[in-house]
């Protein structure tokens, strides 16, 4: 046994391989984490440029830049790329980098599978993006791809879209298995479950959510595949099928999916706020229980996306109550973060700015979520820009700001350099202003009666749409600044100590910055 271990170390040496093979063949969690993050940011820019097309067309009434067919392809691809290409891989990247460092493990538990689950992603997105150039165009039925619009009436490229979803699903499932195996098996001696850092906790729960719902997504797209190519009628009413079945199955995946995109951000913010408050996290135990409660509830609320499809009254009432219930554990988390800040010793470096904005703006998204949960009111809000405002408030300042906060928080650990604080604060403020300007007016548009997913609109919606577009352009352009800040930080900057943040706690700060290629070859002791 010892000889095997020895030859293993000698064979690989202590540093990375040279050239492209380092990235193609790597099994190192840090390299794979970096690749996930780079891939995610690339997709963020691609999906973002599609959002720019959407906002440019909606800048004023009338059709100016694109035709409705292409507009629908843009909304669809923007949603798919942001959800599956930007947000989810970013969190997997953070998990890869940070979970082993936080639990004192030398690497992920299944390093070869880790490599494969990453490299599947570029393949999947190459297929997905290539549909834009196919005859008949890319998928144009919205990221929720409701049947029969996506089956009987879908473009020929739908089959490629299904294949891409299958590959992404496989990648996510393997990533989730890896996270679970790592957390359950490779924790440092002494680190009991209730001593785990919250980012690790939230990712553990996220991974179980992924395992539970990605197969459901695979199932629903497989049924579509059969309907389109093999003559079945799962979703075709004229063949005895049921278009509403599609929505039930899709949202059984779709609702836990939205928590998959937010729980890891909850975890990261629960590290950042205590660090910059110089005070321990308030209510660690209730934080863990709240995340578990949110995850469990997420399985029994899916039909709140379907209040207008004609769910029977009792079903409607059940889903309304269950959905409102989620406000309780979510509220507990927000209260805990505020209580952590209260009577702390606060400083506002970029990670803290993003984290505080996360708490405030995510709560606004939570409030509109509570409003949407009231089924009778939802008859007015459903499928309007109010919903667009709601989910952008939970996803942009929620997931995306959570990712930015994490990136600034851990960049010194990754690169060994401090990032440029002035530029980072500029990035924050421009993002904050742009984001609110883009998405807050959407609440008004939805309440005034503007449906979502329309390329052109009535004249009374013109003013707020113009404001929103200007905000979106600001937000979009600002993200290039982030790219610049990261490149600058990778290339140089003030050297970062092992623990660059005064109030930060955790094993990741006990290794030098930048983190060596191999860390925790000998597990640390946790008291």
């Amino acid at each position: 046994m010892s000889t095997v271990a020895q030859s293993h170390t000698e064979g690989y040496g202590h540093g990375p391989a040279r050239g492209i093979t380092r990235w193609l063949l790597t099994t190192n969690h840090k390299d794979i984490g970096t690749m996930y993050l780079v891939f995610s940011f690339t997709m963020f820019l691609l999906g973002g440029s599609m959002a720019m097309v959407i906002r440019a067309e909606l800048f004023q009434p009338g059709l100016q830049i694109v035709q409705p067919e292409f507009f629908n392809q843009m909304t669809t691809m923007h949603g798919l790329i942001m959800v599956f290409g930007a947000v989810m891989p970013a969190f997997v990247g953070l998990a890869n980098w940070m979970i082993p460092l936080m639990i004192g493990a030398p690497d992920m538990a299944l390093p070869r599978m880790n490599n494969w689950s990453f490299w599947l992603l570029p393949c999947a997105f190459l297929i997905l993006v290539s549909t834009l150039f196919m005859e008949g165009g890319a998928p144009n039925f919205g990221w929720t791809f409701y049947a029969p619009l996506s089956t009987t009436y879908g473009p020929p490229s739908t089959t490629f879209f299904i294949f891409a979803i299958h590959i992404m699903g496989i990648s996510s499932i393997m990533g989730a298995i890896n996270v679970i195996a790592t957390i359950l098996n490779l924790r440092a001696p002494g680190m009991t479950l209730m001593k785990m850092p919250l980012f690790v906790w939230t990712w553990l729960i996220t991974a179980f959510l992924l395992l539970a719902v990605m197969p459901v997504l695979a199932g629903v797209v497989t049924m579509m595949l059969m309907d389109i190519n093999f003559g079945t009628s799962f979703f075709d009413a004229s063949g005895g099928g049921d278009p509403v079945l599609f929505q039930h199955v899709f949202w059984f995946f779709g609702h836990p999916e939205v928590y998959i995109m937010i729980l890891p951000a909850f975890g990261a913010v629960s590290h950042i706020i205590p660090a910059f408050s110089r005070k321990p996290l308030f209510g660690y135990h209730s934080m863990v229980y709240a995340v578990v409660a949110i995850a469990l509830l997420s399985f029994i609320v899916w039909a709140h996306h379907m209040f207008t499809v004609g769910v029977p009254l009792t079903g409607q009432i059940f889903f309304m109550y269950a959905t409102m219930l989620i406000a309780v554990p979510t509220g507990v988390k927000v209260f805990n973060w505020v209580a952590t800040m209260f009577r702390g010793s606060l400083t506002f470096e970029a990670p803290m700015l993003f984290a505080v904005a996360f708490v405030i703006l995510f709560s606004i998204g939570g409030f509109s979520g509570l409003m949407l949960a009231i089924a009778p009111s939802d008859f007015q809000y459903h499928d309007t820009y109010f919903v667009v405002a709601h989910f952008h408030y939970v996803l942009v300042p929620g997931a995306i700001f959570g990712i930015f906060a994490s990136a600034y928080f851990w960049l010194p650990k990754w690169t060994g350099h401090m990032y440029d604080e002035v530029l980072a604060k500029t990035h924050f403020w421009l993002s904050f202003i742009g984001m609110n300007m883009a998405f807050f007016p959407m609440h008004f548009l939805g309440l005034a009666g503007m449906p979502r997913r329309i390329p052109d609109y009535a004249l009374q919606f013109a003013d707020f749409n113009r404001v929103s577009s200007i905000g979106a352009f600001t937000f979009g352009a600002t993200q290039l600044l982030f790219l610049f800040i990261v490149i600058k930080c990778v290339r140089g900057g003030a050297p970062a100590p092992a623990k660059p943040w005064e109030g930060a706690e955790g094993l990741e700060w006990t290794v030098p910055s930048p983190a060596p290629y191999h860390t925790f070859s000998t597990p640390p002791e946790v008291r």
Partner: protein, 377 residues
Amino acid sequence: MCVWARRTVALLVGLVTAMDASADWTVNLRPGATGISHDIFGLHMAILWICVAIGVVVFGVMFYAIVAHRKSRGHKPARFHENTTVEVLWTLIPSIILVIMVVPATATLMDIYDTSGADLDIRITGYQWKWRYQYVDDDFGYFSNLVTPQDQIHNRQTKNEHYLLEVDNPLVLPVGRKIRFLVTSNDVIHSWWVPDLGVKKDAIPGYINETWTRIDKPGLYRGQCAELCGKNHGFMPVVVKAVPAPEYAAWVSDQKAAAEQERLLTEKDWTLEELVARGEQVYQTTCAACHQPDGSGAPPAFPALNGSPVATGDANGHIEVVLNGRQGTAMQAFGKQLSEVDLAAVITYERNAWGNHTGDKVTPQDIVAYRKQHSSP
């Protein structure tokens, strides 16, 4: 190049002119014109103010900490990280607020679902991209199409006040009566929505969804399709015209007489010119959205008709496609949507428009004959 230049100019002109366009900064729901829409508005405002109150308290504490507990002010951190009393309280209080909120919400929901005792049934069917209204009790019905001209949509003309929210035939309803809607779809899922009525219901193929309304005051109420239904999803508005009961009764008898007139037209002897002229109108409202006004289509989903083998080949094949549609494609069966006169006219038009010069005349009688021949015994 030229196109881009024109678009840039259009954009710039738009930018400048938009500044002095009549400003409309509506920020809230409208209370609407029905009991339900008022109830919904009440719920909406209640939950909104509850959220605002919670927000003020929570963020108030947070901003106090942000201002007062800064390191730069020399504030020393406390070490507390648990307090069971507080944690129990802030779990219980939100729960109680939710229970308070749930009571009126449930009552309104039960009201919305109570479709019993309706005075009048209207069947609403969604089509790509128009609505069909059938007055089930009076045995007539019609389609309701967007009438905003393409020139306005493509910025070659000034836009109307009700741009994209105007139709040829609004749904006419009496005020003060309970009206039950039976909502379904012919193709993909649509959603019939009129904000002022507080009614939104998905139109789903294979399902008939029920909902209802009782409108308090006469007027024009505008809405839109709310569920993505393909390329022209943004171009299928809903307009409801609510009129007093006597006016409604008069309108119904007019409609019945007009339906009878339409049936008589089938017997008439039509010339090629008359058919082409009528057919062009039918084509523009019914077919042009997909096959384009010049018959060029948008392949591969929507084939060109100009020079197509169907429109220039055997007339019976052409009738077959128009009447029964093409399974598994976006081509609908128009046999049930259009009258025999309109079917004959549009087919004749397609066979003689653009570069198609077949000289064929398909008469309403031909459609009747085709139907007899192909109907199953």
